[in-house]
Structure formats: C-alpha cells, structure tokens
Subunit: 287 residues, 6 copies
C-alpha cells in the first residue's frame, strides 16, 4: 500500500521556512566558495542503520525550493526497510543547492524515518491480529501532518489530525458539562453532522454510560487487561455500532496482550515521543 503525500501546496511554505531557519542571512561557506560559478555535483544518501525509510519525497522538495533543477531520486520506496550502508537516494545538481539544503533535508528524513521505524515495531507486534495501531496528537509542534504521514508509512493508521475533525470528550469536558450525557448532547448539537464523537472512559461505570449515548467510539483509558476484556464484551453485546480504542502506556511488551482483548484500535505516541532518528548521511562529489 502506497501512502498518499499531502499536496505540496500544504507544505511548501513550511519547507521554505525550514530552509530560512537554517540559512538565516546566507550560507557563508557555500556562497563564499561558489558564487555564481557553482559547479555541478552529485551524490548519494546512505543509510547508516537498518530501519524503515520515510520522508524522501519531502527531502527532495526541500532541494527543489533552492533550485528546481536539482534531481533527487529515491532509490527505495517509502515504507521499505533499508540496511545499514544502503544507498537510499541519488542526488544531482548545482553544488551550492546541494550543500545548502543538505542539513534540512536530512533532518526531516532522519526524523520521519525514525518514527516509521519505531511504528513498524508496534505494528508488527500485532500484525496477525485484527487490531490496528494508531497515533495521537502528541506530535512536535509544526510537524503534525508529516509525523502522521510517517506513522502511516510505518504501517500504522492515523487517529484524528486535530481538534476539528473528530470530537474527543475527555474527563474535563465531562466534568464541566456535568456528565457524559450532557456533554455529548451539547456538543452533538453544534458540530458538522458527519463528525464522529469519541468518549474517554476509565471504568465500567463510564463505559456503560457511554454506550447509551449518540457516539461512535469508546476509548478505554489506562485500564487493566481484565477491565478492557470486560469493557469490550459489554460494548459488543450492546449491539451498538461502536469502535473501541485502548490507550495509555502502550509498550512493545504490553501491546499484544492489549490487542488480544479484542479492541479495534490501540493508540500510542511512543513512535513520536520515544523514537530516535534513523541515521542517514549524504556523500557528495563534484562532477
């Protein structure tokens, strides 16, 4: 399965700002060296560790913004595993653009590949079960769309993208409204009608109340395996068309047990908050 990239129109200003952040008032070394007689150069991107590659098309677009003539060609499909030492992309173009864009392009690809690599571990741990691994809103500010893209490249599925495309009712909302019923009623009335509502529950009592509402998803938050098993059962027998999500302290050790409770989705921020970058380096030579 190929993961769709967001349209460049959504990303181009972001990418330009990344370059401006690094370049500041000018790349003093590169500009000083090449001036307007900059030679052609070419090179490769080499993975320095095994992992799942994500973000090469984004990296290519970074170079494009410095010089539309730059050729950046991924040698591996997004989501495939690379070996340590493997050439994963070829690059060719004016040396000044290659050097000026190198750090930004690597930074984003290394970070996204790190997320994809970590995601794959969680996904594979439950790969034979019907449960899906999904992400969260714990993302680096400014990188939401791309980190969620990396989740998908890693084999996970996305949860909601922001506060506006799905309603998640949490304990603070419930407390403020004076109860689950009141919260759901008030919110349902003023949201676009196709939106789904998810309610966070922490015990059987809350699960029971949630089942009776006009909602779509029930989250089992930080429950024990036993509680989850019971909650899943209670929800299924209700005959309501409800999806079930487990959340809270998901680890590579615990994820399989949780999946076996029969929940539909397990959400975790671990691939974003606890992964390390995949090491990649750029090797250039002048033509």
């Amino acid at each position: 399965m190929k993961i769709p990239l967001p349209p460049w129109l959504l990303l181009d200003d972001l990418l330009k700002n990344w370059l401006l952040e690094d370049i500041g008032r000018g790349d003093r070394a590169t500009q000083g060296l090449f001036n307007d007689l900059t030679p052609e150069g070419k090179g490769q991107w080499i993975a320095k560790a095994e992992g799942i590659v994500a973000g090469l098309p984004i990296a290519g677009r970074v170079f494009y913004h410095l010089n539309p003539q730059t050729q950046f060609t991924p040698l591996i499909v997004e989501g495939e595993k690379c070996e340590n030492g493997q050439a994963i992309a070829r690059i060719e173009g004016k040396m000044d653009s290659l050097l000026m864009g190198e750090r930004v392009a690597l930074n984003i690809a290394m970070h996204l590949s790190g997320i994809a690599t970590s995601t794959r571990l969680y996904v594979d741990a439950i790969g034979d079960l019907p449960t899906h691994f999904v992400d969260t809103r714990k993302t680096i500010p400014g990188l939401r769309i791309l980190e969620k893209y990396a989740t998908e490249v890693g084999g996970g599925q996305n949860h909601r993208m922001g506060l506006d495309d799905t309603v998640m009712i949490k304990d603070n909302h419930i407390q403020a409204a004076g109860g689950i019923t009141e919260a759901v009623t008030r919110i349902r009335e003023v949201i676009p009608y196709p939106l789904t509502i998810e309610v966070e529950t922490g015990n059987m009592e809350e699960v029971k109340t949630a089942i009776e509402q006009d909602i779509n998803i029930i989250m089992l938050d930080n429950m024990s395996i036993a509680e989850m098993t019971e909650a899943v059962k209670m929800i299924r027998v209700s005959g309501k068309n409800l999806k079930i999500e487990a959340s809270g302290n998901i680890t590579l050790e615990s994820i399989r047990k949780i999946a076996e409770t029969g929940v539909d989705y397990i959400s975790s921020s671990a691939p974003v908050t606890r992964s390390k970058w995949l090491d990649i380096s750029m090797k250039l030579k002048n033509n």
Copy 2:
C-alpha cells in the same frame, strides 16, 4: 545561571501557527461545550518522571495567545530537576483556553524537557573537566532556536545557530575549492569580518594544513582517541589561538575519554536525535 529566552517577537508567530495546526477550523468539543459562558478553571502540570524541566515559559506563552488573561505560573526554575509526581506549574483561567492550548503547550514542554534531560547526562559526565558539551545543526525543522535553548537549559553550550553566523568548512567545500587553503582564502574574503571559521579535519595531514590557515576552530571529526590526543598536541604547540572541537558518534560511554584528550568542545546531536520526551500531564478542575 539563568538561560535567556529569545524575545517573544521571534516566537509569537511560530506559537500561533502551532495552535492553528492543532485547532484547525475549531476545537469542536470545547467550543461546543462552553460557548461564551465558559467557566473559570484551574489546575496543575505534573511531571510523570524525573528529569530536567525546560520550556515552561514557552508553554505559558502558548496559553497567552488563546487568552491573555490565562495565568500560567512555573513552580520550578528552568533547568532544575523535577521528581516523578512533582507539580511543576500552576494554571488558571477560562476553561476553553486551558483545554484548547493543553496539547500544544504540553507537546513543546515535554519535547524540550526531554532534550534538557538528555543533555544534562552528557554534561554531567564531563562536569569536572574543562571541556564543554555543545549541540549541532541536527534539529527538528522549525524548532532550531528552542531546541538550542533546551540544550543550554540542560547545561550544554550552543554551537552555531545556522549557516550564517559561523563558517564551517567541510570536506565537500575543500574538495570543491581544490584544497583547504583555497577554501579558507576565498571564503574569508567575502564574509563579515568578525565571523569565525571552523575547519573539519579527519586526519593529521588535514590538521596540519588547517593550523596554517587564518581560521579559529579545528574540528576533529570521527578520530580515534589516539589521533585526537596527537592532534590536540599538534595544535597546542603551534601557538596559534585555536579552539578544538571533537565530533562524531559521541555517546555517554565515550564522552569522558574524548574530553580527556584535552579538546575544548565536544559536539553531539544525541540529546536531540536520541532522547525521549519527558512525560508531563495537566490536571484540571472547574472552579
């Protein structure tokens, strides 16, 4: 030592964009619940693990952009160690702003605290030696200033902020120029005169050539302890006023040995590329 925050003027648009990224076309749950009768609420930020706290003033400014009346009061000084379970900030204001800003504010503080926490480990490992621990340009695109702020909060020092405030001459520059001497000469001629030049070297031959140039810093890149020891000696005896930086595959295991070679600075991206977020949660109650 108190680490200076960048002026808000530099950060405000960034922070607003973070909020817009998460809010999208509106926080459907919060707006639906409270409308314009939103109650006052208050709460605390609780650390869920031991670590070094960084970014609380940034988090506070995030809430400010939703409602300038929100009071966000850090209970711990940037750079101090928090315990698991410790209250690290107090917050008070309109419930809608508290809920709408929660995720973004936590995301940045958790990420920056993770960097500071990791940095502190490296810094402490060589705390009794004169060598300084410094960061790199491997930063998440869009967060350069703040991640480098977290480095300082963690006890490290910053390396250059971008391509424009210091010149770093790498192998590709040298190759393109036809030698270290040519590269330094051409670049020195067209840069602001107060800028310093650093040259990357990989062996004794290059160190020797570098010493003879009009430069300020020599980087020993990926050298063995033996090589570094020799290089430091060669540079010191030259009598040139040169700073020495070691770089490449720095780990908590190797850093002390490297510092003992007598280099002035050890640079590493590990706190950014291999750290995990410090877990923090926000506990709210309605007034």
Copy 3:
C-alpha cells in the same frame, strides 16, 4: 441554543486583511480630518429590514483591530429576528476608528445576516419534521468558517467543513477507482480511522451497492421524490447504521416534500448562493 464562535486566533489575520483591503494606503478622508486629535463618537447599528442577525461579534472584532478601546455592544442575540428600524448594536469610541471600520464591519454582518435569514426560511419549512437542514461547500472563497457559522445561527447544521474532515465519494472518484467498492476500500485504508465516509448515489443500483460498503452516509443526489422514498426504505431495512442525505435543487417549495421521504438531512447551498444581504446602517454622532 447559542452557536459557538471560532476562536479569534483563527480569524484575526483574516479580519486585519479585510481592513487592509479597504484602507489601502490610508483612509484619506478620516486621517485628513481627525489627525491625532480625533474626537470620541458614538452611534448605533440600525436594521433596515426584517431578518435574522448574524455576525455582530465579528463586526465588533473588526473595530477592535483598529482600536482596542472601541466598545461595540450587540443589542440582539445572534440568531434572533430583528425588525426594520430596530437598533441592533451600540458603538462608542474614537471617531477615526468608527469611520475607518464601518464599511468592513457592515459588509460582513450584512452578508452573514443575509445567509442566516435565508437559512431560517428553509429550517422553518421543515421545523416540525425530524429532518435537518445542512449546508454545503459552496461558499465564498475565504469565508468558509464564517458562512458556516451563519448557517448555524440561522438554525441549520453544518455539513463537512472541507475536504479533510469527512470523505465524500462522488461519481468521478467511483469512475476512477472502477467502482464503489474499490473506491471505498482504497480510501478507508489510508484515512484517519474516526473519519466518516459518504457516498453519492444517483439511482437504486448505486444505493444498493453503497449499502454494502464500510461507509456512514448515503447521499441521494437529484432523485425524484418517488426514488428517494424507495431508497430510504431500502436503506432502513438493511439494518445498517446509515445516515441519509438528500441533495440537489432544493427550494423552499420542494424542501418539505423531500423531508417527508424520511431522509435525515437535506443539504442546500441556497442560503449562500441565492440570498441577499440584510440591510444594516450605522448612525454616528460626535460626542
């Protein structure tokens, strides 16, 4: 029911751009007259026709951006009916800001009130039936959030806000995918899991196929009353938890008959594409 306003953070840049569009390089008359000795003034907004008022808080925020001291006080609740000649807001502040913001503030309030007024007619026509009146993506470019706010103020409900918060599969998607089943399958795989999918159908055959998919909403597009009646029946007996939306050439004459077929939602762009502004004028006097 009070309709929640979007957070100002989402609107402020838009509102400032509106003012800049009108002011250009300066309000030559007002600046020339008052300079920095501008007197206080006050006045009223008077409705010049009967209608449903929407957008007064937005108008007030327009004046705020010229001068935060300006007091703009709505005298009528959003969504209430005003009479011709009724004072609907009071304004007080520096004369230059009042005059400089007048046109922009009136333009938006008159336009939004026009939409709310028209929406109310459609809503009232089916007010005793369980069917909901909803809007569409036919909105003036740049005003999506506000025109949808006006729909709600008028008593309607919103359909999706954009291409990202709900999936609508149309004939071109189906044709490109090679069938409804293929289209739904491919799309379901790569979207955030809480998103709902709506499929557009034009005849019984398509309705039948749609029922069998993993979708949430079926749109009956431009069907006759007889067809719609049959389609609603077929969908209800399927026992699938599906919402039904009717669309296409909805008029004040036809809407009741369509609602009586038992569809859940009737969507129409008429209040946006075929309404006229509600006339409002501002009467000022110097203090």
Copy 4:
C-alpha cells in the same frame, strides 16, 4: 472591450489561501484514491443557466496552483452571455488536481458570474443614455478587486477601490469638521494632489455649498427625482467642472428615471448584495 485582469502577483496568495481553506489537512478522498499514480482526466465546465460569464481566468489560475500542467481553456470570452447547457471551458490534467480544485474554482466563477449577470441588467436598462452604472465599496471582505472586476465584465464601471484612492466626504465627516467647507479644506491640504474629492449631499442647501468647494464630484444621496433634476441643473449652471453621481436604493425599476435626470453616474451595490450565483458544473471523465 476587454476588461484587464489584475496581475497574478496581486492574486496568487489569495488563491492559494482559498485552496488551503478547502483542502485543510488534505483531500482525503482524492489523495486516498490516486496517490502518486493519478491518471489524466479531462472535462468541461457547463453553464446551467443563462448569464454573463466572469472569472474563468481566475478559475484557471486556481487549478494552476495545484498543478502548473493543468490546462484550463475558456470557451467563451469574459463578459459574453452563455446559454443554459453551454460548454464554457475545457479542462485537462491530472485527476487529483482537477478534483481538488473543482469546488474552489467553481465557487469563485459562479459568484463573479452572478455579479456580472446582475450588473448587465442594470447597465442595459440605461444603455442608450450617457449615464454610467458604477459599483460601491459594499463588497464581500477579501474579494474587493475581483468583485469590481466582475462589475466591469458586466459592463459597469468602478467607483473608488478603497479609502485611499478617492476621498468621499460623508455627513459624519462634515459634522465632525463643522461644515463642508472646513472638511474639504482640511482634507485637501494633506492628500496626494491628484486625488479627487467627492462630497455627499442630501438636499439643495448642501449641493449649493458643495459647488463652491475645491472638489470634483457631487453625490446626490437618496434624493427624489425632482430634487435630483434640480440639483443637476444647479450644478451644471455653476460652470464648475463637476461630475454628478446619484446613489441610494437603485433598482431595475428606478434606474432609468434617475439616469434621465442627467446625472453622470449611478452607483449601486445591488449586483453584489442582491444577486445570485450563476450555476455552473464541471463534468469530468478519466482518460
């Protein structure tokens, strides 16, 4: 007569923002379907009603921003009348760009064509008289330039574009200054010398005073036909080189009578505030 389009430099950011408003975090249906294997498609824009077409070049530019390879070819000249069912444009390009830009492109063209269609009615009503039909500053915020373009396409002429290119002295200015003479004097002193000044008058007394000022245009605001006739006469006999504009409650019924009083210009916002969109649809097929 061909109406000049504004340079794209003035419109491009606006058009991109329109697309971003609709696309949000991505076109989930289109991206999910086509990914990077998107097929070529082509189609037509079909008018669904008789009217005056305006905005096709703008619509074409919308598609351009999604994919510069898209070919959008108007089949009718801006300002010409289309029949119901007539193909007014041909489009060819990648299916994803066609589907992603469809709504925004249609929205603007339908709205502008609605304005042009309505304008033409007013213009034709006085087509054999020397009086010109002109627009006002009552425009949808953000669309000033384009709605005024549509006025011209419909056969009308533009009044001032904003607060800075012409001075319009209204009753509030006059009251604040303490009289017409004071207002004109103070303003004339500090405006660019080529700017014209228009004074709003509501009775013969004001007309008389206005004639004596250093101004260029006299507006007769909401006067009766008899008053206007008298005012025109008074102004003409003054021998002053003054243009005369009638304004206030212009309708298709009243416009001819007003023109016959001999005024030079009749201004009305009706084509913007009381028109409906011209219905247009896009018919696509995959190649």
Copy 5:
C-alpha cells in the same frame, strides 16, 4: 498643520519585520546580560545636527513592539526644527527593550528626518509662491508610505502613492497605444471613474494634444524655462481645468525659476535620492 500618520494596522507588520531583521536569532549581548532580571532604564534622544524632525511616533511604535510598557515621548512636534544637541525625545522602560530596539528606531527616524530636512529647503525656496513642491515614486522599496509621510512633514505635498491611485501616461504608453488620444481613450474606459489622468509631455506639440484630451494634469518634463512659460500660457488660455506639473532635474538652484513660470506643482525625488540622514543618538542610563 499636523500631518496624519497612517493607521498602525498598516505599519505594524513592517515594523516587526524590521526588528526581526536586526535581531535575527536573538540579541546576544542584551539577552546575555539581562536575562529576565532586566532593570528599568531611561534616556533621551539627542539631535546631533540641525534639521527637521520626522518619524518619532514611528520610532516609538518600534519600541512598543518589543515591550508595550516602554514609554517613548517625543519632545518636539513632527516637522519642527531641532538644534544640534537638542533633546527630541524621552524614553523609559526595560533596558533590554531599549537596547534591542535602539538601532532600528534610530535608523528610521534619522532617515525620515533627513528627507524632511531636505524637503523643507525646497519648500522654503518657493514658500512665497503659489507653486507646490511634490514628491515622486522614487522611494526606497518598502518605505513608500513613510517616505511620503516625511515629505509632508517637511512641508511638501504628495504626488500619487502608487500605480493605482492616479494614472500617469508616459511616452512608452503613448508609443504603445499609437498616440496620446488612443492611450487616454483606452485607459479612461477601464479605470475607476474618480481617478485622475496625468499626461507627460516633452514639447509644445505634445502639450497641445494633451490639452484636448479628457485628462486632469499635464506634466512638463525636462523643458527649458522658456518652453515651460509658453506651455503654461497655452494651457491656461485653453480654459480647460488642468493642473500643471513641472518635473526633471529640479535643484535648489533651479526650483524658484521654475516656479515663476506659473506651474502649479514641481515634483522632485531629490529629498529621497540625494539627502543624508539627520544624525540622532540615544543616551541611556540605568535607573
């Protein structure tokens, strides 16, 4: 006469960008010194030469954007003459904001005061004659509004602000259209009706043709005193209500002779293109 300032809404983004240009990634000296314990400071702005002061309110607004609490109080009215050594403003606030904004605030005030000072010389040279001194579109890119404000502060009047508020028909337009008559006719047809048209003429033949058009201003470009005298006479006897502007190589030596030909306006870019900054310095002391 007090010169009206543009609304801050028009200038605020510009001013912030100026500060960001200078501050870059942070004011290393000031932030390093004061951190968040910054003391209060106060001081004065001292003129280091005699001249006409312009731009103090702009300078004050620069400091406001760093810290709204900063008090910047002009001690001299815009347009008044200052002596060498005179205190022209008082400033008080946090030391970090004072130091961080100093250079930007001084740069703009010194530049604008330089323009005002130079303008005053030209204005005074013809102060007893009815001819007005006006500026041109030769302005530093990005500073048009402010440099034209400085012209007015110096006692001059503004010519058009840009390409859109007045039509200036030059030789290239005339050549392209095939003659003055054709150019005026084509342009008059598609511009907002209140706009004025100016035609550039270089000899008597062109002046004669220009008189016959539907235009408002005739520019005599680079003519000799004798030619100008003749042209003014020809235009006046035409009885047409035309303004006359002289342009081209205006100097302090030549301006009076030109004014004596009876032209209404003399336009010159000299105060912008050939003036020097008025020297001003900021003297601070810690509280």
Copy 6:
C-alpha cells in the same frame, strides 16, 4: 572578486512586497492599455552618471516576479565603474511587465549603486594600506542584506549582519553589568561558542581593561589620532590575538590618517547615510 548574492529564497518575498507596494490594486495605465494583448518590448538601462554599479541581478529578479519570461541581461559586472550614458543592462519581454516593474527595479538598483559608488571612494582612499573599510548596522530598515551586499560590491567588507552573529558590548551594556569584566563574563557564558565579542572603548583605561578579557575585537570609538596610535600600540604589545576597529565620524578627509594608525578595520555608515542614488534610466521601445 565576485561578490556572492544571497539565495533568492531569502529575497523573493521581499521583492514581491516591493512590487505590491507600488502596484497597489493594479497598474491602471499599463493594464488599461495592454490588457492581454500586450506586445513585446525591449530596451536598455542607461547610466546617467559615472559610478559603481550594484544591484542589477536584483533588478532582474524584480522583473522575473512579474513575468518569468522577461530577459534582463546586465552589460556590466557588479562592482565595475560605468560612465555617464553607458548602457548597463538590456531588457526584453512583455511590455506590461517591463512598465510595471520599471520603477521598483530602478529604485533598488539606483540606491544600491549609490552605496557602492560612495563605498568605493572610501576604499580607494586607503587602498594601499592594510586597513579594511567596513560597514555598520545603520541601514534602511528592510534592506540590511542588500545594502551590505552593496558595501561589498563597492569594495568594502561587512561588519556583523545583526544582533545575533557577533556580540558588540557598548557602554550601556558595561554600565548595566557593572564593568567590562562582568559584562564579558556573563555574555560569554550563554552565547554560541564560535561567536566573537567586540568591546567598545573610548579611552586608554577602557582599552587596557578590554585587553584582559576573553574577547576578540576592540573598537576605538571616537578617539583622536594620537589616542588611536597609542591604543593600537598597547593592544599589539599585549600579544593577545585581537583585532582593532576604529569608528566614529569617518570622512573621506580623515580616513587615511586613521588607517595610518595601524587599526585593522575602519567602520563607517557614510555610504548608506550620506550617499546619493546613482542615476539610471530605462529606455524602452515596442517591438
């Protein structure tokens, strides 16, 4: 020596804003004349005075943003001397773009050439001495990068680009810190380690103290020739690797004497604050 241009990525938004500033809501003359049938035109840029040309590539990029097909070809290398009457660039393209971009392109090139021309005079005055002529932070807000580029084109060298790439400790910093030693210590601790620190001194006492700090540059501010001579001697004999800069009231008359004191750098804002534009005009003809 060829001076490197900043990457277009750093300048493009600036250049577009310049065009928008001049064009406003449209170039009424040009759009009115040519519409979409605009002919090809070509022409030349002619220097109207002797001077050093700078900014032609920037001017070319201005036209590019109106129409990427425009050909703008410099006929002289940046930094070369042009004669009065010399053709310095050739231009060819659509007439509307040529006319619409003319003023902005000329304004920037004339201003930058004025700076380069003035700079060359200062540089040549000390051309046979080892002292370098450098610029300052006194630049027109918004033009920092480009004015500093012009300095280099004129033969000067740049001083720091902003508050972040070099630390300059001035009297106010020293006073606030309680002495030079305290100021340097506090700042050195929190700045990126490669940054250099310059200390401003006004007398021998301060020079002496400065020599003892961990700094890189000593500025001799407004000293007499005798004092400077003494200070240079004191600094050289210290054996510290310090650069020496002279500053304050540098004129073409005084600069040589100052250079002969042996300072390394002489900084002056004169080419920015006291130069006049180099006169250039554009001569077009239709094809």
